[in-house]
C-alpha cells in the first residue's frame, strides 16, 4: 500500500517534472509541515479549578483538565510544543506548603517542553528554584538574566532548539527587570540585561547559526505599559526575526492575539492568555515548499 502510494505520488511528481522542468511545486502537496505551539503564563500555582461560585473565574482552570486538552491536541498533531512564560510559582497554598514541587512535577507530567522565569519564580530565592529543578523534566530558557556566579549558572540557557519533523524551532526567554520587583536577597547575583539588545543578538544567532525556521520568544516582560518600560509590544516593534512572542506578567486577557509590525515591517504575533491556567493559547504554524509562497508572504488568522 505504502509503496504504491509512494510510486503514485512520485509519478505525479515526474509528470510535473517533465512538463515544467524540475519545478519545486512538484513536492508541495506532501511537504507541508504543521507545528502547534501551546502556551500558558502566570499560572501562579493554580492547580485546582476555581469553584463554581467564584466571582471571576467560576468553574475554570485546573491542571487535570488542561492535561486532557493538551493530550487531545498532541494526538491531533504530534508536532506540538508546550511552553510557559513564567510565574509558575506563588498564588495558592500549594506553593506555601510544597515550595513549587507540585507545580514542576505536574508540568513534567503534562510534558511541558520549555519555560522561562517570572519574577515570582524567585519568591523562594535562587535556592528555591534550584531545590525544585530535580522535579522539572523540561528546559528553562532565559537570555537576559545572567546567572554567572549563581547556583543556576549551569541550568538555565538563553535558548533551546526543538526539531519537529523538518522544522527547527528556536525558543528563547526574556525576563523582567528584577530590581524593585523581587527582593535583592532572592535574586542575588543575577544580572539583568537589556531585553531588546539581547533579543537582536539571539534572533540573529537562531536564524543564521542555528538555521531556525521558527523563532519564539517566551517573555515575562509584560504586554504593554504606558511609559517607556519595555514590553512585549515594544519588543515586537523594535526587533526582527521573531515569529511569536508568548507573554506574561501583566495577566493580560486579550480578545485575540495582537499582530504587530516589526522593525522591518513584518508581522509578529504577540499573545498572552491571562493567568491562573484559565486559558491555553494555541498557535498553529503551517509551512510548505511551494515556490510561490515567497511572493505571497504569510497569512495570520487570529
Amino acid at each position: 500500500m505504502k509503496r504504491r502510494d509512494f510510486i503514485q505520488k512520485t509519478a505525479v511528481g515526474a509528470t510535473f517534472a517533465s512538463l515544467g522542468g524540475l519545478s519545486l511545486a512538484s513536492c508541495a502537496p506532501e511537504k507541508q509541515s504543521h507545528i502547534t505551539i501551546l502556551h500558558t503564563n502566570d499560572v501562579h500555582s493554580h492547580i485546582d479549578p476555581f469553584p463554581a461560585d467564584h466571582p471571576d473565574f467560576p468553574n475554570q482552570g485546573g491542571v487535570a483538565r488542561r492535561a486532557t486538552l493538551i493530550e487531545n491536541i498532541r494526538q491531533e498533531n504530534p508536532n506540538t510544543i508546550l511552553l510557559d512564560a513564567g510565574d509558575i510559582f506563588q498564588g495558592t497554598p500549594y506553593f506555601n506548603y510544597y515550595g513549587g514541587e507540585l507545580e514542576y512535577k505536574l508540568m513534567s507530567m503534562l510534558r511541558y517542553d520549555a519555560v522561562t522565569l517570572g519574577n515570582h519564580d524567585f519568591d523562594n530565592g535562587i535556592e528555591g528554584i534550584l531545590a525544585q529543578l530535580p522535579n522539572a523534566n523540561f528546559d528553562f530558557v532565559s537570555a537576559n538574566y545572567a546567572f554567572v556566579n549563581t547556583p543556576l549558572e549551569d541550568y538555565i540557557k538563553p535558548y533551546k532548539i526543538f526539531v519537529r519533523g523538518e522544522i527547527r524551532i528556536g525558543v528563547f526567554g526574556l525576563g523582567i527587570e528584577l530590581e524593585g520587583l523581587v527582593e535583592k536577597k532572592n535574586y542575588g547575583e543575577t544580572v539583568y540585561i537589556d531585553p531588546i539588545e539581547i533579543a537582536q543578538d539571539i534572533t540573529k544567532e537562531l536564524k543564521e547559526k542555528e538555521n531556525c525556521d521558527l523563532v519564539i520568544c517566551l517573555s515575562h516582560l509584560g504586554y504593554h505599559y504606558k511609559g517607556d518600560k519595555v514590553s512585549d509590544l515594544k519588543l515586537a516593534a523594535q526587533t526582527q526575526d521573531i515569529d511569536l512572542i508568548i507573554g506574561g506578567h501583566t495577566h493580560t486577557f486579550l480578545d485575540k492575539p495582537a499582530v504587530v509590525k516589526n522593525k522591518i515591517n513584518e508581522d509578529v504575533l504577540v499573545n498572552q492568555v491571562g493567568c491562573y491556567g484559565i486559558n491555553v493559547g494555541r498557535v498553529d504554524f503551517y509551512f510548505d515548499k511551494a515556490s510561490k509562497v515567497k511572493s505571497q508572504g504569510k497569512s495570520i488568522l487570529v
Partner: protein, 252 residues
Amino acid sequence: MKIKHFVIIITLLVAYNCSKEPQKLRQIEAKQININDSLKEVTEIEEFIKPKREYIKADLEKILCYNPTYLSKKGNNLNSALGNLMADIVYEQANPIFNERTGKNIDFVLLNYGGIRATIPEGNITTRTAFEVMPFENTILVAELSYDQLKDLESYLIENEKAHPVSQQFHLEFRKDKSVKSFTINKKTPQKNKTYYVATSNFLLGGGDHMDFFKEALSVTPVDYLLRKAMIDYFAKQDTLQTSTDKRLYID
C-alpha cells in the same frame, strides 16, 4: 525493470531539490482555549493531586468570620474597601507589638496595590481566604521616616497613581493635575521636626515597587509577624467583617 529505475532516479532528483529548499512559513492561526468543565480530568493527574489537596484542605477550611460583601482591590479614585481593610488590619495587629517593643505607636500603614493577590467573595472567610489574598511570606516591619522622606512618600503616591493600601490614620487627597487638596497624618499636617513610624512589608522595605523613600529609613523595627498571619488573627476576632471605602487616599 527499466521503468523502475526511471522512477527511482526521478524520485531522488525531486527529493534532492525538495531538501535543498527550506519550507516557508505560509500560515499562522492563533486562538485561545478556555479550560472549563467541558474538559474531563486526566485521572492520573487528579489522583496525584488529591492527597496533597486533602492535606492542605484540612488545614485551611477553618471558618474565621463572615464577609457580607464582595471585596476587590480595584476601587474608585484610588480607594478600595479591601485595600483599606488590609492596611487597617496591619495597624490593629502590629501596633500593640511595636508599642510593647519601643514604647511608641505606629503613625500609619502603607502597603502596595500589587500585594493584594485575590478578591474576597461574599461568604465565609477561612484561613484559605488569607492565603489567597496574601500568598507571600511577607513580614511586617516598621520604618522610621523623616519629614523629607514622608514628603517623598506623598509624591510617590501622587505620581504613582495606584490604589496602594493605607491605614485610616493617613489622609491624602489630590486632584488630577497632581495638586494636593489635603495631606494629614492623624489629622495633623506633617511636622518638619517630627519622625514618622510607618508599618509596611519587608518586600517594600527591600526596594519593592520602587518605594525608594524607605531606602534611607532612620530606623527599621521588625515586628516578626507575617502579613498573612496578621490577617488570620484579625479575621478570627471578627464575627461579621466591617469594611468601607473613604477618602484616605483619594484622587478627585
